[in-house]
């Protein structure tokens, strides 16, 4: 009559076996790990990011709008200033000629607008939250033109599923899905808290929508390009979510 499991008969102690297995699994995990986690997880994380994007696009509604909380003060001078150039990007008319905003790509009527052209278009102002990927929020009054209005003027073609917002800030750009771009609170902003933008906040104009995280909202805007495909963006290429929805 044999007693115990066969493995025990041939000399493998169950306790030692479990310890050895746990040790080997732990060592393998540590070896595959750097501070960003095991490398083999990259595919899984990308898969989750893609699934999350589909879910976020399903949740997206043009009727979901943002409003700064009652009694919230505008951040004013405390509003952070971010850019990727070494110094604050300033448009110098003497070098580059007068600033103009180009609306191009898949449009029947390309536009080239000066700041006064923009200011002459229907003006929209909202007191909005700014949601930064870092977790802070700041309240500001944003004044500008609805991107949906510009899209209508430029007669955007069918099949233009994406929009790229380009800048003169050292090649910074971010592309968006068209649905977010024509949200009623997506504005080409030229004034903040009642004054024309200063260079720290993206002068002469920037894109702003509370439905996107801060990094998706290109400042120092030069070009709006309607496209059939997405073309990434400065921070999205770096590893943040491309969709960046709020």
């Amino acid at each position: 009559m044999s007693r115990g499991h066969r493995a025990e008969q041939i000399g493998i102690d169950r306790r030692k076996f479990l310890l050895a297995t746990a040790g080997a699994a732990g060592a393998a995990f540590l070896a595959a790990c750097d501070s960003t986690g095991p490398k083999s997880a990259k595919k899984l994380l990308q898969f989750a990011m893609d699934k999350n994007e589909s879910l976020e696009r399903t949740l997206f509604r043009h009727t979901s709008i943002d409003a700064a909380p009652d009694g919230a003060r505008v951040a004013g001078g405390s509003f952070p200033s971010y850019f990727v150039s070494k110094q604050v990007p300033v448009w110098d008319d003497a070098i580059r000629g007068a600033w103009r905003l180009e609306v191009t790509g898949m449009v029947d009527q390309p536009l080239s607008l000066s700041l006064s052209d923009l200011a002459a278009l229907p003006r929209i102002g909202y007191k909005l939250n700014h949601y930064c990927v870092e977790g802070w929020t700041a309240v500001a009054t944003r004044t500008g033109v609805r991107l949906a209005d510009l899209a209508r003027l430029a007669k955007v073609q069918r099949g233009a599923e994406y929009v790229d917002f380009q800048s003169f800030d050292d090649g910074y750009h971010e592309s968006w899905d068209i649905a977010s771009a024509v949200h009623p609170q997506t504005l080409v902003v030229y004034a903040q808290d009642g004054h024309y933008l200063n260079p720290a906040w993206g002068a002469p104009a920037r894109i702003y929508s509370p439905t996107k995280l801060g990094y998706k909202n290109t400042k120092y805007l030069t070009k709006i390009v309607f496209m059939p495909k997405r073309n990434g963006g400065y921070w999205s290429d770096f590893g943040y979510e491309w969709y960046g929805g709020v």
Binding site: D34, S35, T36, G37, A41, L44, L45, F47, A48, M49, N52, E56, L59, F60, R61, S64, I65, D66, A67, P69, A72, R73, V74, A75, G76, G77, S78, F79, P80, N129, Y131, C132, V133, E134, G135, W136, T137, A138, V139, P210, T211, W235, F238, G239, Y240, E241, G245, V246
Partner: protein, 216 residues
């Protein structure tokens, strides 16, 4: 989830809206020690957080479905007199009471902790959704007091879960290590229960020898 959450938090280790102050967090602008964080950088931590949240949600549903279908939720819902019974347990643990209070499967403190766990877990998920989608699901975020408060409640949910987990794991080893195999096998030796051993944390860990049988 906790490690990556803390790494995300460290990107802005405060709750105040820019240009304002926040009443209720004493460590505003003091980052969490990096050794406690996971993800390496903000984007990496976010990618982990937004992937693993599904595991948390699925795991939570499986757990809730299991205890519902097996009726074991009855072992977790606090009974009448839970406050008094918990107080008796505390008194026993600190040595102000000699004998272990009579309990069923779980003592009153355990019931409280195990009942709170899924509630705090649900709170963590709900507050997390609120700060993930404060515009698309603004009704939810507003119900929690707005983005800043929802983020604060999310932090608290994490903290409570960590406290409950650390307390639970400590007590498993300090009071009832005999329950560890039963977590997998399901069988439990009642003679080794804390009640039978009159066990306080780290005391009376050894099983009592059964009384010697005497000849009739």
């Amino acid at each position: 989830m906790v490690g990556s959450g803390l790494r995300i938090f460290n990107a802005y280790p405060a709750f105040a809206r820019k240009g304002e102050t926040f009443c209720c967090y004493p460590f505003e602008h003091h980052p969490i020690p990096a050794q406690l964080t996971f993800g390496g950088w903000l984007g990496g931590a976010r990618n982990w957080h937004f992937a693993m949240m599904w595991l948390l949600v699925v795991n939570g549903f499986v757990y809730l479905a299991f205890i519902y279908l097996h009726g074991e939720w009855r072992d977790l819902v606090p009974r009448r007199g839970v406050v008094r019974d918990s107080w008796e347990m505390v008194k026993f643990y600190v040595g102000r009471r000699k004998d272990h209070p009579i309990q069923g499967k779980h003592n009153a403190l355990q019931r409280g902790a195990y009942f709170a766990m899924p509630i705090v877990g649900i709170m963590a998920v709900v507050t997390g959704i609120a700060i993930w989608k404060p515009v698309e699901l603004s009704w939810l975020t507003s119900a929690l007091g707005g983005y800043v408060w929802a983020r604060y409640w999310h932090f608290w949910a994490m903290l409570l879960l960590v406290i409950l987990t650390v307390g639970h794991v400590f007590m498993v080893f300090a009071v009832d290590p005999y329950s560890i195999p039963s977590m997998i096998t399901g069988s439990y030796d009642e003679d080794a229960s804390p009640e039978a051993r009159n066990a306080r944390p780290l005391l009376h860990l050894r099983k009592r020898r059964p009384a010697p049988r005497t000849a009739p």
